[in-house]
Amino acid sequence: MYGTKSKIDLAFEYQSQIPVLRPSIHSRRANLTVKFQDLYGFTVEGNVDDVNVLNDVREKVRQQGRVWWALEASKGANWYLHTTIGQGSALTSSLKFSALANAITLKKLIKKGIPPVLRPKVWFSLSGAAKKKSTVPDSYYDDLTKAVEGKVTPATRQIDHDLPRTFPGHPWLDTPEGHAALRRVLVAYSFRDSDVGYCQGLNYVAALLLLVMKTEEDAFWMLAVLLENVLVSDCYTNNLSGCHVEQRVFKDLLAKKCPRIATHLEALEFDVSLVTTEWFLCLFSKSLPSETTLRVWDVIFFEGAKVIFNVALAIFKMKEDQLLLTHHVGEVINVLQMTTHHLFDPDDLLTVAFDQIGSMTTNTISKQRKKQEPEVMKELDQRIRKLNSLKADNK
């Protein structure tokens, strides 16, 4: 019984006696690719170290949850709503002080992350979605979805086309139920704002909103507040002019904040928009792991669209040394993709984004945007005229 060892056991024993031939534990671990599901059900491919990082992140999320619960216990359930000061003189100075203290606590706390369980509630109030919803009758979303049911427009056709192409393989999004929910949100929004209609990229944004918010209606209002109040206007409308503006502002910021990278990439004739356009239009949802993306969104919904610049700059900044060693466009893209895909620990990114980039106020960014707008309009206009003259030539 003990005398017969299976061949496999023997082979294993034999191998373990010749450690010289075995690669180091680190390289073995780094090469071993595993597939696993993250907090939001996305399949992630990574090595063992990535799995460990993700486990650490889960633990940090739990700790952060305890911090939020403790604050709720001491300050009341909706303490984070009482952060505005200067609303009339009726407030006593002590109340004003507590509001200010809350505001400071909240700003710091949000950068450390909102626990996933609290996200729907906190996002909904802090982004302004709750306020937006309160200005229309309660039945607005239901009425809208019912009214547009069965209607076919270019937007609905494009939405239908993209449903199975939005995070394919996700355990809920890629089911008939998930497709139907995403469809209703996107179609409803395409009717709410016919200038936006449907823009590719919004499928990913809305899908992630659905996963976080849990209910379609809340996801719809988050999408509305995002497009109508949080982001710059015309990011997703007919020629993406808002997106062009953001790209120009970003290039100026990169030159200012990371001059060595900017100069190097320029020498390689690498236009950063080749990569960053997707970051801006999908708000990182296609490039960063889900929890990292949502940590970025935590801050976007609270502080505004300037956060996208912080984060995008941070991705470049984190890899400055590697980027400066690149010789080809392909290498630059590889460095950036490898970086974003493996940013499993949100704090790695957000620490750089908020502590090392240097502050950028919404005001300075707005000025930059104003400066770029006429340039973008001129460029887009010239292009349209050129294309129209092409048509005329061919007639």
């Binding site: 494009q158 192409r165 394919p168 080749l274 356009t277 239009l281």
Partner: protein
């Protein structure tokens, strides 16, 4: 632009065409040998690279697979600027996607002069919306190399890229006689060749 180092050529290649025409599927089949029934929709553009051996040279393609939705049109110049070749893709079941393909051809002919263009159609299933003959005649009239492909069955996918690789302009023809390959198929290649040289 195609750049040469010894017998190695780096060539920027851009894929253009209507949304859902199958651009990403074509690239994925070529680069990774995979086919997915539902390919994630591309936002902005996705980058791939793949190297092919053509005769005694290697061609490294740097491929930009662009987003197809009409409004992304305004981003396209960023991706086709400096490209050595373009593949314009349409879906044979959709005449709209064929009209869109024609618009791309027009734009590229005017905007970028040194161009090696390729018209590719992908089979997505269903009935036939675009007559093969019509597309072929159009391609010939416009000096395009034309091929019907299927990312699903892999039919002609590698061939498209191989044919493009063969037609890429060589900067030093005397040292690199492979450039002469273009002459081998005058019916399809000659005009593409002349606009590249």
């Amino acid at each position: 632009m195609a750049t040469i180092g010894h017998n190695n050529l780096n060539a920027k290649l851009v894929l253009l065409g209507d949304m859902g025409a199958g651009k990403s599927s074509l690239v994925l089949r070529f680069v990774k040998g995979q086919f997915l029934e539902f390919q994630e929709s591309t936002i902005g553009a996705a980058f791939f690279s793949q190297t092919l051996a053509v005769n005694d040279a290697t061609v490294k393609f740097e491929i930009w697979d662009t987003a197809g939705q009409e409004r992304y049109h305004s981003l396209a110049p960023m991706y086709y600027r400096g490209a050595a070749a373009a593949i314009i893709v349409y879906d044979i079941t959709s005449s709209d996607s064929f009209s869109r393909a024609k618009k791309w051809v027009q734009e590229l002919q005017k905007q970028v002069f040194e161009r090696n263009m390729n018209l590719s159609n992908t089979r997505i299933g269903g009935g036939w919306g675009v007559e093969f003959k019509e597309a072929r005649v159009y391609a010939e009239e416009n000096g395009l190399f034309f091929m019907e492909t299927s990312a699903k069955s892999a039919a002609n996918v590698n061939d498209v890229f191989y044919e493009i690789a063969k037609r890429l302009p060589r900067a030093q023809p005397a040292q690199n006689p492979t450039g002469m390959v273009l002459v081998d198929r005058p019916a399809e290649g000659s005009r593409a060749a002349s606009c590249c040289s």
